[in-house]
Symmetry: C2
Subunit: 112 residues, 2 copies
């Protein structure tokens, strides 16, 4: 994650990636571009952040992966969210809402 120079949330990237995958199968490079598009250029995941993250999500059973050829012939690795991944996503979203709500409460109370 770059762009806004560290306003990010750790573990937050996992939530965003899982959210994207909940709309359907995607490969790594596509995730980077989709995230950039949907966030209107706010997020731009570094490859060095995304690929290790995908590997750890896979290791934790939150996504599965399969290799395939693009129409162009280039090899791609497609990721799909699992049922456990869906549950983890819902949990992370809940936590995010609690966290963001609390940040808002503190800021609103301090700089009204």
């Amino acid at each position: 994650m770059r762009k806004t120079d560290r306003a990010a949330a750790p573990g937050g990237n996992a939530m965003l990636v899982l959210a994207l995958l909940s709309t359907g199968e995607m490969y790594g490079y596509q995730i980077i571009e989709e995230l950039e598009r949907r966030s209107e250029r706010v997020f731009r995941l570094q490859e060095g952040t995304l690929y290790p993250l995908l590997h750890s999500l896979e290791k934790d059973g939150l996504v599965t992966a399969r290799n395939a050829q693009a129409p162009s012939g280039r090899p791609r690795r497609y990721y799909r969210i699992t049922a456990a991944g869906q549950r983890a996503l819902e949990e992370k979203e809940r936590e995010w809402r609690v966290y963001a709500g609390a940040v808002h409460a503190v800021l609103a109370g301090c700089t009204p």
Copy 2:
């Protein structure tokens, strides 16, 4: 930060602490309790997180500190936000709003 078990934002703690200090002088222990109170128990800064953070804010000129005695006699270290700290706070708040807005956009677009 604990409680919601990692939904946090790095550098986000600095924003929250600066926001609290923008309401007036505070000492470390008080910051922890005020933050817990204002967030309605969502945040509970670890001492091992707060004190080093305060030292780095001081080193960066965003806060100043002075030692004083509590009415009880216990020594305390009071922190006060500087003009540079105010500017940094405003900038961090701006970044936070951009980041939180983008997260919301992605989540809303994925799980409508």
